[in-house]
Amino acid sequence: MAMFSPAIFITTAGFFHNSAVHVALAIGGSAAVVSAIVGVFTVLRAQSFAGHALADISSAGGSAALLFGLPPLVGFLAMAMLAAGGMEVVGARQIRERDLVSGVVLGAGLGLTALFLYLDISMTTASNAANMVMFGSMFTIAPETMIPALWVAVLALVMCVLLYRPLLLIAIDPDLATIRGLNVRLIGLLYLLTLSIAVALSAMTIGAILSTALLIGPAAAAIRWSCRPGPAIIIASVIAISATWGGIFLAYDSFYWTRNHGWPVSFFIVTIIFLAYLASGRTTALARLRRAITA
């Protein structure tokens, strides 16, 4: 290693030769991109809370999968998509009503998660199940999960591309979309299913509790940076993937600077996202301050 490279990053070489790191980079990266893109629409539709509820209930699926010996991806995805379908059937139109439905789903999700985690811990050998499900298991994802997870991510991206213009039109006003022949309800359902893919992927990687950060943080920062939908989506993706890959790198590295304990990758990811969000507000906050002083 070169003398002038920062002594703290002592693991750079090993980092790129570690297969757990490869899996984490691939699945974490795809979860990040999908969450960021879906997140822009989530912010536009004011459905952040629904996203969080779906993440929580998907973790019930993840913990159930552990119990029944199913692949975790199947558990996370199936539960989130079932809940998304259920939320649409209940058919809450107003945001307030939608929030109530999300709250009920969130409660049910956490309740089921508590039950399955208890059963996991008492009936299987997964003694760290709670930590895995609630805070993610980036470095312990089975390599065979990688290909299916990537396909699911591709499916979500295709949905985002297809629904791009209709979702924007609906965000302006649903009636405007209806008179143009769009089925607003069907598009809402397809969007919720896409949202459930995004949160299932990130719940599996950085954990249900923190998946909301990946869904909302990059999108919220990006729409402050750009006033155009395409660039906003690209910026959100760049923030999310930088945060995720940067977080994986720092977590891997922290193993050495914390003397073989290592800090959780989720912590680093969320911190980077939070910093990006703060930076995006800087220009507006400064302008507001200047206006307040000069006014």
Binding site: P166, L168, A171, I172, D173, L176, R180, G181, R224, P229
Partner: protein, 263 residues
Amino acid sequence: MLTVDSLSVGFPGNQVLQDVNFHLPQGSFCGLIGTNGSGKTTLLRTILGLVTPDKGKIETGVGGIGYVPQKIQLDPFMPLRARDVVALGIDGHHLGVPLPSPSRRRAVDSMLAEVGATEFANRRVGDLSGGQQQRIMIAHALVRGPRLLLLDEPLANLDIRSVAEVIALLHKLVVEQKITVLLSAHDMNPLLPVMNQIVYLAHGRSVSGAVEEVVRSSVLSSLYGYHIDVIQVHGRVLVVAAVGAEARTTEMAHEPVHVTSIP
């Protein structure tokens, strides 16, 4: 062109419109006047096919309908420029991401110029003033070249100058392009210089015709079912219930007669 023929619309337990009739020839500028809750939005949404009527017929002629919904709340951080909103008027119902297209861009540019919005075309739409947002929504509604334009309370919450600007813009469109405009409002006064037709809604029923035929004490009294005075003060029209009329029925106590203008 727009013909509404014995139209009745209701929601469970609430008959909103009963036997509404009117005809607007092409190139009409028509005010749809009524108090809050009189059914203006319901009538417009029924014409658009968003609400199914209980009975009656609607004919809209050829060329499609443009629509500016009531009080759109655009999120200030929504990542859309004014020109993106107009472009979604062209192809917002298409699937997929739009590819760069010179003809689409030209159509958007000329529509923006038409409504006088070129100057703020590249600004975030949520940052625009109410009047500027209305112009953009009108451009969105017109960019596909409809022959009928429905606007739901486009003048509400605008300052006096923006009201005059939006009306002048709509008047220009009616005169130059012979578009038919049906615009709802709870105050008819700003529209008096430009509108040549009026549809007046009260208690679910309507009267329609030229302004001077409709805004008369005898006509409005029979529409409301009690005595109404039409008073002209300083060039403004006030529609008021006769003194004491409010006390006559409980219905009136809940729905006091509509004063179209409080100078």
